[in-house]
């Protein structure tokens, strides 16, 4: 066993230990420690990624002295390492990028608790991505939910408290559905380890035994995780939570927390139940329809939104719709497309949230979109980052989301029939609406203000943290766009070892 194979385990334990230590130190030390931790985890994850890309195989890592069906186990392959690398970079840049607003908005003596919750979010995310055991997944879903709800309430304003409670309730319903699902699944298969469940489920599917409980399990887990990742009819908690939280938190929630659940759902389909069994159940058709509805409804709400942050929040609903549509296509390319879009959207949305919050602040602390006119001329970097994110989400060639749309359409054409037509129409409408709201705002940023325009005086604050983070995010986005082919082929390779 090579030493680098230990790194995922080191990351998980290191994160937990740091979180515990952070509970007794002051604000400045907490910031340093957390930044250092995220950097260290990122570096180690990159090492793991390089290692698994070289070997091209996934490996299981025993958490304890006992092998898998008895003890706990994590499993690391190309897919896990790749997603985790993107998530780590996004986390690092989101944490640094929103540093100053969070310091302004969070009570100073309790700032270390904010850092703890960020650490715990990272812990839960890693465990969800790496775990090979369904019950471990549930435990870390709980941590994820609690930490995320706490982070939403960090600002302690009325809106945040209400949004936090709403977030908490919806997410608890999701968690309990997931838990019921696991319990029933354990009763009919006798296992919690994902690989063993898959063997039992394959046998059950072949004989047709326990057909009803199996369907119920798949439905419950799907609904639970869809609720937590804000698929269309369950998205009511999302706008409030994303648009009122501090920028860092909004970036992390939209790009990491929901993506962790989506990754877990894909893992559940591919590794736990088996994709061929899922395809025979018809549940994917429902996801397909809801995903497309989400694409359109989210975009329409974004067009109607009055503030930039609300617009970005609603656009998340549309992007989640893309992911679920891709899953609903019942093809391997669809799954790859969903994973790719999770990563691409994570990188882009965090950049949008960070830059937009700072820009709102620079334009006089207001939220109305019209106030952003000419923002490029007083804060060029913010405006550039925002525009890059905006045109990326519209789908401009050479950037990451363009690849999503191409892959999605390609997968739909492969599937053919009704699916093809529906996807083509939905993607067309959604892209058009994306263009309306994102390009409108972007053009506004670059329009110089004239005499007599009712624009507040810009108050540009020096903010080196955000500048550094935004440069990092721009590089990350451009790199993902330019390297999209190799990453997609790595994901395709990884999917073979993933099951």
């Amino acid at each position: 066993m090579e030493f680098v194979q230990n790194f995922p385990f080191f990351c998980i334990l290191l994160t937990l230990i740091t979180a515990v230590i952070t509970s007794v130190i002051g604000r400045r030390k907490a910031i340093y420690l957390t930044s250092l931790l995220i950097t260290a985890v990122t570096a180690m994850t990159v090492c793991v990624l390089v290692y698994v890309l070289r070997t091209g195989e996934s490996y299981a890592y025993m958490m304890g002295h006992f092998p898998a069906p008895w003890g706990n186990e994590i499993r690391v392959g190309v897919m896990e390492a790749l997603m985790m690398t993107v998530f780590c970079f996004v986390m690092l840049f989101s944490f640094i990028g929103g540093m100053l607003p969070s310091i302004r908005e969070i009570e100073s003596t309790k700032y270390n608790i904010y850092c703890i919750l960020v650490d715990l979010l990272l812990l839960a995310l890693q465990a969800l991505v790496y775990t090979n055991d369904l019950f471990t997944a549930y435990v870390f879903i709980e941590i994820n939910t609690l930490a995320a709800a706490g982070l939403v309430m960090m600002r302690q304003k009325g809106r945040n408290l209400v949004a936090g409670v709403r977030y908490m309730m919806m997410n608890l319903i999701g968690s309990s559905l997931f838990l019921f699902g696991i319990v029933i699944l354990y009763t009919i298969t006798g296992h919690l380890l994902m690989v063993n469940i898959r063997q039992s489920v394959a046998a059950l599917a072949a004989t047709g035994e326990y057909k009803i409980p199996l369907t119920i399990v798949v439905a419950m887990v799907t609904v639970g995780l869809a609720l937590k990742s804000a698929l269309y009819p369950f998205e009511k908690w999302l706008p409030g939570a994303y648009s009122n939280a501090t920028p860092s938190v909004a970036a992390m929630l939209s790009s990491l927390v929901s993506k962790g659940y989506i990754f877990l759902l894909i893992k559940f389909y591919v590794r736990v139940i088996g994709f061929d069994v899922i395809c025979n159940m018809g549940i994917l058709d429902i996801l397909f329809i809801l995903g497309m509805l989400g694409m359109i409804v989210g975009s329409v709400s974004a067009v109607r939104a009055k503030t930039t942050r609300l617009m970005i929040a609603y656009s998340s609903v549309a992007q989640i719709g893309y992911i679920f549509t891709a899953i609903g296509l019942r093809s391997e390319i669809g799954i790859i497309c969903a994973l790719w879009h999770s990563a691409a959207h994570a990188a882009t949305k965090s950049m949008l949230f960070i830059s937009c919050a700072e820009m709102d602040d620079a334009c006089g602390g207001t939220h109305l979109r019209k106030h952003l006119k000419g923002a490029f001329y007083h804060s060029p970097l913010l405006a550039l980052a925002f525009s890059l994110g905006a045109i990326n989400l519209v789908g401009v060639p050479l950037l990451s989301v363009f690849m999503t749309k191409i892959t999605l359409v390609q997968a739909a054409i492969d599937v053919g029939g009704r699916h093809m037509g529906l996807v083509l129409i939905a993607v067309a409408i959604s892209t058009l609406l994306n263009a309306v709201y994102f390009l409108g705002t972007t053009v506004n940023l670059f329009t110089p203000t004239k005499e007599g325009d009712e624009v507040l005086r810009p108050t540009v604050r020096k903010n080196p943290f955000t500048s550094v983070a935004l440069v990092g995010m721009i590089v990350l986005n451009l790199a993902m766009g330019l390297l999209s082919q190799p990453i997609l082929s790595a994901l395709a390779e990884g999917l073979k070892n993933f099951a």
Binding site: N6, L13, M63, G64, H65, F66, T136, V139, L146, G150
Partner: protein
């Protein structure tokens, strides 16, 4: 046009951007906080004025419509849907249960090689007479580490939201609201109740001792860190109810709470670091299992039980104190 307006109103009402609850809470908070006085240009003043008027007009129109038609209709719809969803869910789950394998059936899928090894080799491999403890603290120790972190996470969130901090310039808003209320929970709190105090004097030592026993004997008899910790936490809560927070603070402060949780979780994490590392890399672990049945046996399980016990005790007491008083 009229239809469009109606739609807009319903939407605005359903969206939380113009929701009533947030507005009331924000208004209350803004009143409490001193308003920032800034110099405004005439254009900005006019703008602010216009925005305010527009907002008031919309709110008045919305409230009118809401009170007369919206609320009763949505309430009825909501009730019907609630009942329908719950009944469907209950029926579905009950039906599913009837299709599951029977409880106690020897051919039940859960009677497989996994539980067989736990039962047959559990004592030999973990050194714990209590198989359940062996399972949760040795075979599946990673899950239990996660569960302890759940308690830690919950405690941190609650402390963030509710703890009053004397050093902070602005107290936490919720804590302030608790202070301002003259008839808050503290009003009905029993003060120097002689019956309660005498009972507590007799009971608290026994309860705490029982808790310690359950924790320390976790690997030998039913019990363990979670149940023993809950008992000790209950003992502390009884003590504080009888003698008050001032008495409690003589030996249990926020600082002590922080240190105990820090030490317990760090011990847990670091000892598991060692055990996971040696396990995964197939290195021989130097931790002896001891003689099964002796109090000092079963390797790390005893230590972990004590850690979990401390975490659960502190978290329980912390929840009680912070929800009651906003401080430890």
């Amino acid at each position: 046009m009229a239809k469009n307006k109606l739609f807009a109103r319903v939407n605005a009402w359903l969206d939380d951007e113009t929701g009533g609850l947030e507005r009331v809470m924000e208004a209350a908070q803004e009143q409490a906080a001193a308003p920032d006085i800034e110099e405004l240009t005439p254009a900005e003043k006019r703008w602010a004025q216009e925005e305010l008027e527009e907002e008031r007009r919309i709110e008045a129109a919305m409230n009118d419509w809401t009170e007369k038609k919206g609320k009763p209709f949505v309430k009825a719809l909501y009730n019907v849907l609630c009942v329908a969803v719950c009944v469907t869910m209950i029926a579905l789950l009950l039906y599913t249960v009837t299709t599951l394998p029977h409880f106690g059936d020897p051919n039940h899928p859960i009677n497989n090689e996994v539980s067989a090894r736990y039962i047959e080799k559990g004592l030999q491999e973990t050194g714990a007479v209590n198989i359940v403890t062996g399972m949760i603290l040795d075979y599946r120790a990673f899950d239990t580490l996660g569960e302890s972190s759940v308690l830690f996470t919950a405690a941190m969130v609650v402390l963030f939201l509710l703890r009053k901090d004397k050093n902070s310039a602005r107290h936490s808003q919720l804590a302030q609201a608790m202070d301002l209320n003259p008839h808050s929970d503290t009003y009905y709190e029993p003060k120097n109740d002689i019956i309660l105090q005498k009972t507590a004097t007799i009971l608290v030592p026994v309860v705490l001792l029982l808790g310690v026993y359950v924790v320390l004997n976790g690997h030998l008899s039913p019990g363990g860190g979670f149940s023993g910790g809950a008992i000790m936490g209950a003992g502390l809560i009884l003590y504080v109810t009888a003698f008050g927070f001032a008495q409690m603070r003589k030996f249990f402060t926020y600082k002590l709470y922080q240190r105990i949780v820090l030490a317990a979780l760090l011990t847990y994490a670091i000892s598991k670091c060692y055990s996971f590392y040696t396990g995964a890399n197939h290195i021989h672990s130097i931790i002896p299992l001891g003689t099964p049945g002796a109090i000092l046996s079963s390797g790390l399980i005893l230590v972990l039980n004590i850690c979990v016990g401390f975490i659960v005790t502190c978290t329980m007491y912390c929840f009680y104190a912070v929800f009651r008083k906003g401080e430890l």
